[in-house]
Structures are given as structure tokens and as C-alpha cells.
């Protein structure tokens, strides 16, 4: 048991080793959620179309953004330039398009990523949603060099 625990804590995330960080850091900082919308800014049924939850889409985007930022020499992914964010979202959107195609479903040609923040204050909540990036899908033709 101790060996598994030490390995999980040291490796952090390499399947099946994981430090299980879900909800490990409750604090005053806002909680973040993801919204995927079409070109008319209408949120779409991302799970029904691709099989992926909005939370998973958010994680994929952060992972891709951090990777693109790392390649560009930016240590903190959150400080990535708008161009890098755009590039990362384009890549993730194309992956989502492939998943949708596998399920014989279609994504809209314009896919917008938005980030929602929930603040807990005065015994209630305040929600702010801001646009992050926009991807244009062209039937599976990638415009970004894959990682």
C-alpha cells in the first residue's frame, strides 16, 4: 500500500498512477467551468455530439495550451498569448470534430470556447463567462501542426 501511495504522490499523473487531486484545493479563488458555443454564441450539446463532457473539453484545452506555451518558452500556461490559446483551441476543436465524426454527428463550423468563473461571496455565487478562443472547422483538414 505504501509503495502505491508513494508512487502516486511522486508520479502525480501517468496512468494508472495518479495523486487524485479532484477537489483537493478548496479556496476563495473562483471555480472554473467550460462552455462550448457555436458561431452564434449559443452553447451546444458537446457531450451528445462528441461523447466528451464540457469538463473534459476544458481539461483538454488546458493541456494543449500548456504544451503550446511550453514549446513557446512560456512557463505558465495561463500566461499564454492569445495566439497560443487560439492555436491550442483549434487543435482541441479538430480532435472533437474527429470524435463527433466517429459518432456520425456534426459540430458547427465555428466552435467557440468560453471560460466560466464562479465566485463564492456573501453566502451566494457570482458567475462570469468570458470568451477564450474561436476555432474554424473545415471537415477534418488540420490547420495546426499536431504535437
Amino acid at each position: 500500500m505504501v509503495i502505491v501511495i508513494v508512487a502516486c504522490l511522486l508520479v502525480r499523473d501517468s496512468y494508472p498512477l495518479n495523486n487524485f487531486p479532484m477537489y483537493a484545493d478548496p479556496g476563495p479563488e473562483p471555480s472554473v467551468f467550460t462552455v462550448v458555443a457555436d458561431g452564434a454564441d449559443q452553447p451546444i450539446d458537446i457531450r451528445r455530439i462528441t461523447g466528451e463532457t464540457s469538463a473534459k473539453v476544458g481539461k483538454k484545452y488546458v493541456d494543449a495550451r500548456n504544451e503550446f506555451a511550453r514549446v513557446a518558452g512560456i512557463r505558465e500556461g495561463a500566461k499564454a498569448t492569445p495566439e497560443i490559446k487560439q492555436q491550442a483551441w483549434q487543435e482541441v476543436a479538430e480532435r472533437l470534430e474527429r470524435l463527433a465524426t466517429r459518432r456520425k454527428k456534426n459540430l458547427p463550423p465555428v466552435l467557440r470556447l468560453k471560460s466560466g468563473e464562479i465566485f463564492q461571496e456573501n453566502g451566494g455565487f457570482r458567475e462570469v463567462i468570458t470568451p477564450v478562443a474561436e476555432a474554424r472547422l473545415s471537415g477534418g483538414k488540420s490547420s495546426v501542426t499536431p504535437k
Binding site: 495523486n19 487524485f20 478548496p26 473534459k56 451566494g124 455565487f125
Partner: protein
């Protein structure tokens, strides 16, 4: 009753049910065809160049399921065969489960619901290897190393406890030990999950529109929120106590299942594999069934 924190002796009926239930749980875990047919961000064995993509290719899944069924049958039938057959059966199940979920976790996001099953299977493989080595050296059973199925149960409980204790230690590390004190901020997380559910499928997500009543209540009652979340954290941190003996495993297992049911009720976040494995190996339904059968026979 065995000494604290030492493996127990497992009888034939209990062993049969433990093996059968784990085989079914593994099959269930990989039942749906993988949504993925390529690695986007390699994780685990995929990072080392091991091919996991094959299991997501069109037409591969029925074969993977058939192989899992065969390995499961070997694993159960090996109860009456030399240990090598148990090793073959559980290694096959471990390989298929590891491959399937490594591919799913190589997509740029981590899913936290299947690691426990992989750990249980891998630690059972380790138990078989040690048992075979002991047999070759002609070492007999001791109170620290009982029969094979006693060790399979013990190693499985170790795997399960490790997951919960790791989770609790991460919470302590990330909050400098203040997790319980800060847990009233969990209200925000409950609301976040509510919004995530809504934005998964907004056209049919009316049930998750607006503010979750649980989140609102927790935000209005921070002290009660802390009191509500503290037991879950304590359960996780002290999950290793389930290794004490069968009785502690039963009560801790039951409490952990209840914790997951409550999380499901409040946050609509479900960990079905965790619940099933805890029910099999900690609550130990196979032992309870075996005990009932024994009592029925005696009567």
C-alpha cells in the same frame, strides 16, 4: 481472527466469488467500445511506446471483450489449478484493462474513475508472482503470507486503501493541512459541477439550470458545510484501517460506499467502479455470502 493488519485465510466459496466478481467488474469496466482511436497526449505505458491504440480501432473491441471473458474464466477456474493459471488469468485482465484505460487517459485529460481497478489487478499479479516464487523456494504459508486467495484479497484491499489515502494526502498537501477548515468553499465546486452538467447538453439540461439547491445551502451554512465534508476526508485519510481485519474492512467499506452515494446525490458525480470494488473487497459481499451458505448448511 487473524492479527491486526495481517492477511486473512480465504475459503473456497469466498475465493470463487471474489474471482468471479472481479472478472465481471473488469469486463464491465471495458464494456463500451473506446471513443478514441489515437493517442493525443501519451500517458503511462503509452509514454514508453507501448501500443494501446489497437484497442480503439474499429472491430477490435469485440475481440478485446472476448479475450477478457476468456481470461476471466481462466482466472476463476484457476482456483482448482496451479498458481500459474491464476497469474495468466489475472495478467490478461490487467493487460486489457490497463490498455483500454491508458488509451482513454491519453487524450489530454485524466479520468479518475478507473485507476482503482487497474491497481487491484496489477497488485493481484504481484501477489501471484510472489506466491509462485515462494512455491519454487518451497516456503509454506505463514500468518504474514496465508493462502493465495488470502493474499489476493489483502493486496486488493491495499490497492483500494492506497487510492483513498493518496487522495487525502494530496488534499492535505495542497491546502497546507487546512482542507477541512476550507471545505466550506466546496459549495462553489458543487455549483461548478452543476454548471458543467448544464453545459454538457444545454438543450436538455434544464434540470441543471440556475443554482444547485445543495450549493446554495452549503454557501449559506459554511460551518455545517465543514461538518458535512469532514467525515469524508477523515474516512479517506484513515482508509488503511480497513486492513485491520474483516470487521473494520466491512465498516470502512460500507462508509466509503455511503460517501460515494452522498457525493453522487449532492454533486451528481459518480464513481461506480470504486463503489463496486469497495463492495467486493472491503464490505466483502463474497465473504458474507459464503458465511450465509455455511450457516445454511450447518442448520
Amino acid at each position: 481472527m487473524s492479527k491486526p493488519f495481517l492477511p486473512v485465510h480465504v475459503g473456497r466459496v469466498e475465493a470463487f466469488l471474489l474471482r468471479a466478481f472481479l472478472s465481471v467488474a473488469t469486463l464491465w469496466s471495458i464494456w463500451d467500445p473506446s471513443r478514441y482511436d489515437r493517442v493525443e497526449d501519451a500517458s503511462g505505458i503509452a509514454k514508453w511506446g507501448v501500443d494501446v491504440v489497437w484497442i480503439g480501432q474499429p472491430g477490435a473491441h469485440p475481440w478485446a471483450l472476448a479475450a477478457a471473458a476468456v481470461f476471466g474464466l481462466i482466472y476463476v477456474a484457476a482456483l482448482w489449478l496451479p498458481t500459474l493459471w491464476t497469474l495468466i488469468g489475472v495478467s490478461g485482465l490487467a493487460f486489457l484493462h490497463l490498455t483500454y484505460w491508458t488509451l482513454a487517459n491519453s487524450q489530454g485529460n485524466t479520468f479518475h474513475g478507473s485507476q482503482m481497478t487497474t491497481f487491484v489487478l496489477l497488485l493481484q499479479v504481484a501477489a501471484c508472482v510472489i506466491e509462485i516464487a515462494r512455491q519454487r523456494r518451497k516456503l509454506s504459508s505463514t500468518e504474514r503470507w496465508t493462502n493465495l486467495d488470502g493474499m489476493l484479497l489483502y493486496f486488493s484491499q491495499c490497492a483500494i486503501a492506497a487510492v483513498y489515502v493518496t487522495s487525502a494526502l494530496t488534499k492535505l498537501a495542497k491546502t497546507s493541512g487546512l482542507w477541512m477548515f476550507q471545505s466550506h468553499y466546496f459549495a462553489k465546486s458543487v455549483q461548478k459541477v452543476w454548471r458543467q452538467h448544464y453545459y454538457d447538453n444545454p438543450s436538455i439540461g434544464d434540470a441543471f439550470a440556475g443554482v444547485s439547491s445543495w450549493a446554495a445551502w452549503l454557501a449559506e451554512n459554511p460551518m455545517l458545510a465543514r461538518l458535512m465534508f469532514a467525515p469524508g476526508f477523515i474516512l479517506e485519510l484513515f482508509a488503511f484501517v480497513m486492513l485491520w481485519n474483516r470487521r473494520w474492512a466491512f465498516w470502512f467499506g460500507g462508509a466509503l460506499v455511503l460517501m460515494h452515494v452522498c457525493i453522487g446525490f449532492i454533486m451528481r458525480l459518480y464513481f461506480p467502479e470504486f463503489e463496486v470494488l469497495v463492495t467486493i473487497f472491503c464490505v466483502n459481499v463474497p465473504f458474507l455470502i459464503a458465511a450465509l451458505l455455511k450457516r445454511g448448511k450447518a442448520a
